[in-house]
Amino acid sequence: MLQKIYDWIDDRIDITPIWRDIADHEVPEHVNPAHHFSAFVYCFGGLTFFVVVIQILSGMFLTMYYVPDIENAWQSVYYLQTEVAHAQIVRGMHHWGASVVIVMLLLHTLRVFFQGAYKKPRELNWMVGVLIFFVMLGLGFTGYLLPWDNKAYFATQVGLEIAEQVPFIGEALKTLLAGDATIVGAQTLTRFFAIHVFFLPGALFALLAVHFILIRRQGISGPL
């Protein structure tokens, strides 16, 4: 039955080459922990992506309750934390995932660096990876404000003051992020929400796509 459905679809849209491109490729011996246990270092990249998926899913569920405005943001997070079934776990996953993703990203970066895996011909993929790191730090910075509690508010204020001190573009940069030259308030929260939920994830998905396509094109770097 399933085979028939698959054949029916395959007849029409020729799906086999598409999934073959994605899924069907070789895993060399030196990256397979089943053969060499020390090859677990090659898991860091995949686990980083795994945490990113956790972040996306838990974040999607959080937005079902979260309200990005200064009256209700904190209230909605408090409600989520105390009233909604299992929401403490979902928010916990998003909160801890934000830290774990940085740790995994760091380990993945160090693995690639110390193995010299970024050398020719993989320079471009390394640069895309570092950009992913920056986007992730941006997600961490903007997401920190959203619960609108004291630590969020004051950390963001300090962050914006630092941005303001950048020569020439500092004040414009602060206004762009905060929505106002002096006030950290309602505008700041909606801007950070938009950046955290739309702008940066969009950039992240594009960069991840390039990262993965390049890996598939070039293959994993050989053993040292």
């Binding site: 020729d14 011996e29 209230q75 050398k119 630590k151 020569p167």
Partner: protein
């Protein structure tokens, strides 16, 4: 991909009518013990992912995510602290050469050089050798940067008392106010104490009054004569009002303890 004359298509589409093989390639001809990703290796990867997920969920269950009190922009006493992975940048700005007149060094030049050389690493370290020993400069710089980041994060986090911080900034449940605004002592509290000790006695510039161990007489004495960092003469009014004020603080404490 098959191209050219004589191709047959499905209907008027661009899908080739010729069947491609659905059997995965045989990777046994590749060097070493090469394996197919789908489905052989993926099954093992699921296992690694599952173990990771169990560990991650244990962390989530053991440590519920923190939430402090609602943001209060007027709270001048709050000491800001970024998330842990920004602490090293934050700590850097406390050094003399990276703050004040040298702030550009701290916020742009030093992080710019560090992150700039990170992204340009393949071009700075462009020799053919991949082993760490074949590129001592690159590896040495990375180790130096890593140790500095860990050191900066450590010195920044070292003197933070996380438990006291969490205790002082506990959220006040909305709609569960313990303050009885009709109490005769509330007016005196509002006039003399609220600006520092908060509308819910939760503290602010001054400490929280919930959980105070002072007796009524001591509270009356402190309101007039001050204590510790609190200056004298905060309370101004009649003796009767002073007594009502102390009653109010003690009764609010009793209500909060319930």
């Amino acid at each position: 991909m098959h191209k050219g004359k004589g191709m047959k298509f499905v209907g008027d589409s661009r899908i080739s009518a010729e069947k491609t093989s659905k059997i995965p390639k045989d990777y046994s001809e590749y060097p070493g013990r090469t394996e197919a990703f789908w489905p052989n290796f993926l099954l093992k990867e699921w296992l690694a992912g599952a173990v990771f997920l169990v560990g991650f969920l244990c962390l989530v269950l053991a440590h519920p995510s923190p939430l402090e009190g609602m943001a209060d922009p007027t709270d001048a006493a709050y000491i800001p602290l970024p998330d842990w992975y920004f602490l090293f940048l934050y700590e850097l700005l406390k050094y003399q050469f990276a703050s004040g007149n040298w702030i550009i060094l701290g916020i742009l030049v030093i992080p710019g050089i560090a992150f700039g050389s990170l992204i340009l690493a393949p071009f700075l370290d462009n020799g053919p050798g991949r082993r760490p020993r074949q590129r001592p400069v690159a590896v040495g710089m990375m180790l130096l940067a890593l140790v500095s980041c860990i050191w900066l994060t450590y010195t920044s986090a070292e003197h933070v008392d996380w438990e006291t911080r969490a205790e002082q900034n506990k959220p006040i449940p909305p709609g569960e106010s313990v303050v009885d605004q009709d109490h005769p002592g509330y007016a005196a509290y509002e006039n003399s104490c609220l600006s520092c000790h908060g509308g819910e006695l939760e503290g602010g510039a001054g400490p929280t009054l919930i959980g105070t161990e002072h007796t009524k007489e001591e509270i009356m004495d402190i309101a007039v004569n001050g204590t510790g960092a609190m200056p004298a003469d905060q309370f101004q009014g009649t003796d009767e009002e002073l007594e009502q004020l102390a009653d109010f603080i003690i009764e609010t404490n009793e209500a909060a303890a319930e």
